[in-house]
Symmetry: D2
Subunit: 439 residues, 4 copies
């Protein structure tokens, strides 16, 4: 096992059971434990976010670098990139996690020219491929960073400058190539700059048309190169832009439906993006799942009282349990997984903090999986819900659903059948029941 | 002219011009003034909301009736309804407004039975028809109140009880009949209770299927009775429910697209609902307009710092100007109009406050119309926007848009054409220009 | 035991332990169980809110009464009041709760005149006194409803009309008299209408001066009648008003300090009011506690994604645990308690839902008490915090705190001692540790 | 006049009057125009923010530098600092603005050691002094940047590490020295990092005690060196911290009152911070003004729908008018002024955008001044407000205010004087009146 950058952890994090007082052990995440026919690892498919965990430096909008990472201290950006890759795989192994996710510019630095950037990426991909083979760690998804470079400040696929749209497309091509080369199981589009700062200078229709064209070009390429990974779109309402086009799950689905692109994408739902959009995490998961489009999850949490993407590690068992119920009921995430798009706080300076953070998130999801599975097995919610809608199984309910009555006939029936009975929704009891599984 | 309930106003409100100091005169709204080929009245198609203006009693969630309206003091609810109708038409005439909007239960009270409720409605509709003929005031739209009655506390079209869904449908039938009888130019669906309180007891898929079925039944009826009014859906994110299904414009469009219902509806966009959904008013208008689906507007305003529907009268000229630009550029609202879904504050006890409120709203939109028209005529925004996207008119931009290049060809072009030029979005200058039209 | 209105519950709710599957039993709340030297009942001092539980009718801003309570069906309002009192004490007994809280107008109806209202209140107080004696249930606090009556729509103590300020004062006198008569341990001021709707018509200085005068008059009265209950102020930022003067804990403390009233009041902190003000529940508790002013708690929860007072029953164990740590560390709430200022949802029509709701809240706080006590006993947070600030125990830290160095001396020291060591705040580890006590 | 960095502007921006179509001219800001006895320049005392305008590089949390400023391109940080100073004074002159504001680290770079940082600052201050003398531009206020350096990530004055608190104090000493040397009229404290990330590791009481001690040391120094500038505290609720201690005006006042520090400070109110705290800009101004503590203003605007500090240039005439009414009524800001703590958007790449932005803000405030003055002269609000509270001028109202009646006497009076008359608050009419001055 690699042992250079995280010397404070000498052996992989172990499962020690619920009563362990060791903060650097798992209390619930027992990788090979079988739940409902699959191991925990198969259910959860955890991934580390390369950008936050290895390239995050503690910067916030009011202050610079507060983390000094040994792997980022070289004079040459490619040397940093190579060292980072070593650190990353050491971390994966010590944490005992199976997947990672990256943006092209996380793993390899931009060069002086576009051509140089492509070369940098290719060189690092070769090294990553070797390390994946050596360790068994896999790529959950790759993506292109179309937001950091100032050329993208007015958008990538929706940039009013055709030259920049072309550059965005070319960059995506290389990111897809890299993802394919590394066996990435998905490819993600997060349109952080695809939106507007002000409607005063924006042609909303044109920008959406351009975005659709952008996707068509990429879909065509995907087919021609036989890249079999799932394309995922990740909704977010705002930040960095005033308003992003893929603002939430239903808005993204609406766009895909309007342009006939629905078959080519699933959604990557992020908890923090959901709450910034005014929705609960479980709402966005449910909207995507009901549409058959829940593909993957960015497992983090926001702060309900702060209005920006705090990207904290997930630790709210209640929310996680509701999420896992939705995921289990659609038989898992397929090629998707749970990516920790989360960062340690600016004052969590040490590399050990990265372990604490991931362990907390993994344990919370492992416990959530156990609870969710038990709730499903006990059918406590399902039975209640089935009964609640049972009036549609026969009589006027079935007739309405099956198209057997028109509006006049329904009116006639109502005139004969006044005064419906009201039946409590039992929200408080159901909330108590969920809590009885949690504590 | 009727003169019984608003004796403080003896003659219709007049246009007195910009410099008038009379708070009960219009300073900008000059009904017959022609702007861009249409009169102000034709452009703006203002409507009074029956519920707020005549049935609003000052109640809020922490206190009851604070307005004592003479027309609501009878012992019998039908007598109140008839008196209210007289008061309403007196108000319309004195204000000089051409349209009104109602819910079925605003104009006629619910009876002991569904049958009685239908009869009440029919009786009032007859009276209203006469008064419309006498005064020339028209019905912009009607709708059914599927939210006040406790039977709807778990939804109308999405109620888990089939009996209640049937009742909701039957009620809508009667509301459409009433609207048709009165020559209503549109019919609105606001699904205030179509949503959920908790996902724990909710089958999201089933409720959306039911809602679609609900609309199919109503569309079928509309066709068969030859009702030519436009069907409108009014989005809102929450309140009264935890989460409503038609949460914003794009979510509503997504639903309509998913169920093949798009051709049958346009949207009725409300300013306060937009901001509660985290969008600006102009964003929601633009989203609807770009989709060809901006049908009508609930012209009010919310309070950005309060999290509920404050339904205040519109008076923010900046926001109104941006709205009118969008409306003018799509050649108006067609059969739709600007409905003041707005109420005076709980401490504005007097009927004269109703005049102040409407006059303020009408004047603000009249001024907004004038400004918006001037901005469009001067092409200050259009020229800037055209230039901003001009790189798509030729070269690689045109090739991308026209499907003449695939991704590899685009990459090749980028490798030859590095370093795009950045061009300022000039947001501050454009904002200043808008302000230069306002003050 | 009374047994008339809640026949679905035949015996008092019992503690059945953690593994009970009975939704109508306590799993953690074991009234006489001793924790850290006091019984659970002594620690928690739970109270039922008379208004929500017995007078709440399911009304929301978009719909009327959805609960039909047997005790509110009489023709005469005083008959309803008497029946409600019976129902209330039956509920207290069956739930096994020791305290209740009321507004004057909850327990006795307003009469045609102020004098009649006072008589109504006196009559009900006599009956309540008997029932308290019979059952042992006590009054945690009383208060005057200075918000429902339309005369208060522009404020009570801050009303611009002196007549109404006088009426508010007179009403408070009677409410204090009633509270004293019933042995109430506290008296609460919630200034729901003490704020403004618009600054345009408001003299902010005058209204605050009036509010201070209002309190001075009441304090004078309290002393003269020897009422020994604690005066409490309950902060809230808005709703019903645009802006309330007691918007949060620190704002209320600032007012009390500015007018020399600090000694006469403590704060009653409500969870939902805290989050509406943009603060966490624990923040507001901590601010009050640090100032020595945490007197009592309204134990409920809001919905972070909804912008109004949802007044849901508390069930978030994480938040409750943090609250109980603060309460335990200040040695409890003294004469205060945990009042469930919470209501069942509009669709929870049945009286059994009232039991589910309270049981869930009581169990969550009982479990939170156990966890908080364990965390304190284990000193997991205290040791960490003590160490974190330990540099102030000696050297330059102690010198600064003890006033032994001036600014020039500090500068000199810094010039000699550059480059401070950074020490991680370990937020993620601490969050994990809290979770390890919860699940 | 300097002419090196802003060659696109060859002559100072001129006042051209309302009808000018020149976007680079003032339409309202006529520097020497006299309004209510003072020139516009004397009323408004505009200042440029050094950090945003000269050191802002377009960075946001998702992307780096998008502005390439000629003056920041040198290899050596002191060379950049000197060039920036030249650029700044050229900008001041071309814009025709009289004041600027800075943080120590804006005007001079941090050095390798604390001692070196002090030297850098002294060197730049000498140069600035010369340029001030040459141009007549003055320093409105200085401040110390206690937030960018990673040593402050856990606070400056509230840092748990005494070494860092000492460093913060020493840095403040030098910043005050610099401010004094440059004749700064105020000195500002913005406690961006004085707050907490999590209560789990925080001793709230201790941190507030430390902050008070911090201020005491600085006040002592101020007195001894005879620095006559006004000390100002600038409230903000959050960002960068989860929760800042000076969260809003009343919270800051509460702190100052609790620690006996009130006499030594006034407040610097920022519009964007106000709205982030859930208050309107005018609310915060009014709270400060009523307490006699409105000292200066950060004139910017936020975006109500975005949850972070967008720091946009002010352009909302309605809000500005309400602000100017409050400022005029307290006879101006004294030594304070209107500092544009605002930045151009990330895509406003060009230096010309800096001119557009400032011109828009200056013109909006100039127009707001004219309107506010007219409203005050016309007494439209004052007369209404005086009348609204007139019942306190005699009778029971005067008796209550003057302490002539106790609670029992008030009750007796109420029993004799039931049924107060309600008088409309006329909010809609007043809002219309304000609008009639705006458009």
């Amino acid at each position: 096992m690699l042992n250079k950058y995280f010397s404070e952890i000498s052996t992989p994090i172990k499962y020690e059971g619920k009563d362990s007082k060791n903060p650097l052990a798992f209390r619930y995440y027992d990788k090979s434990k079988v739940v409902a026919g699959k191991t925990m690892a198969e259910h959860l498919r955890f991934a580390v976010s390369y950008w936050h965990t290895f390239k995050g430096d503690g910067t916030d909008i009011f202050g610079g670098t507060s983390f000094e990472r040994q792997w980022n201290q070289h004079n040459n950006s490619m040397d940093n990139a190579k060292a980072t890759l070593e650190a990353a795989f050491e971390f994966f192994q010590k944490l005992g996690i199976d997947y990672y996710c990256f943006h092209d510019r996380d793993i390899a630095p931009a060069g002086e020219s576009f051509v140089q950037s492509c070369k940098n990426l290719e060189e690092i991909v070769e090294q990553a491929k070797v390390m994946q083979n050596d360790t068994g760690v896999k790529l959950l998804w790759g993506t292109a960073n179309l937001f950091s470079n100032p050329i993208y400040s007015q958008g990538g696929g929706t940039n009013p400058n055709a030259h920049i749209m072309a550059q965005a497309l070319a960059q995506v091509k290389n990111a897809i190539d890299a993802t394919k080369e590394l066996g990435g199981e998905n490819y993600v589009f997060w349109g952080g700059r695809e939106g507007y700062e002000t409607l005063l200078n924006t042609d909303l229709k044109k920008e959406q048309d351009h975005m659709a064209r952008f996707f068509e070009i990429v879909i065509d390429y995907k087919k021609r190169i036989d890249f079999e990974g799932q394309f995922l779109i990740e909704p977010k309402p705002a930040e960095p832009m005033k308003h992003q086009y893929d603002s939430d799950a239903s808005t993204t689905l609406s766009f895909l439906r309007a342009y006939g692109l629905l078959d080519h994408f699933k959604l990557n739902i992020e908890a923090n993006h959901a709450t910034l959009a005014g929705h609960t995490f479980e709402h966005e998961l449910a909207v995507a799942s009901v549409a058959g489009k829940l593909g993957s999850v960015d497992a983090n949490r926001g702060d309900y009282l702060l209005g920006w993407d705090t990207d904290q590690f997930p630790n709210d068992l209640h929310s996680i349990t509701l999420a896992m119920i939705i995921i289990l009921k659609q038989n898992g995430l397929g090629t998707g997984g749970l990516n920790f798009d989360a960062k340690v706080r600016r004052s969590s300076y040490d590399t050990i903090d990265l372990f604490h953070a991931h362990i907390g998130g993994m344990d919370a999801f492992a416990k959530g999986l156990l609870i969710a599975n038990q709730i499903i097995e006990d059918k406590v919610l399902d039975d209640f819900v089935d009964d609640r809608y049972s009036s549609f199984n026969e009589g006027i309910g079935a007739d309405i659903i099956n198209g057997k009555v028109n509006l006049e006939q329904i009116e006639d029936w109502v005139k004969e059948n006044d005064k419906p009975q009201l039946k409590s929704g039992r929200q408080e009891m159901l909330e108590n029941i969920i809590n009885s599984y949690i504590f």
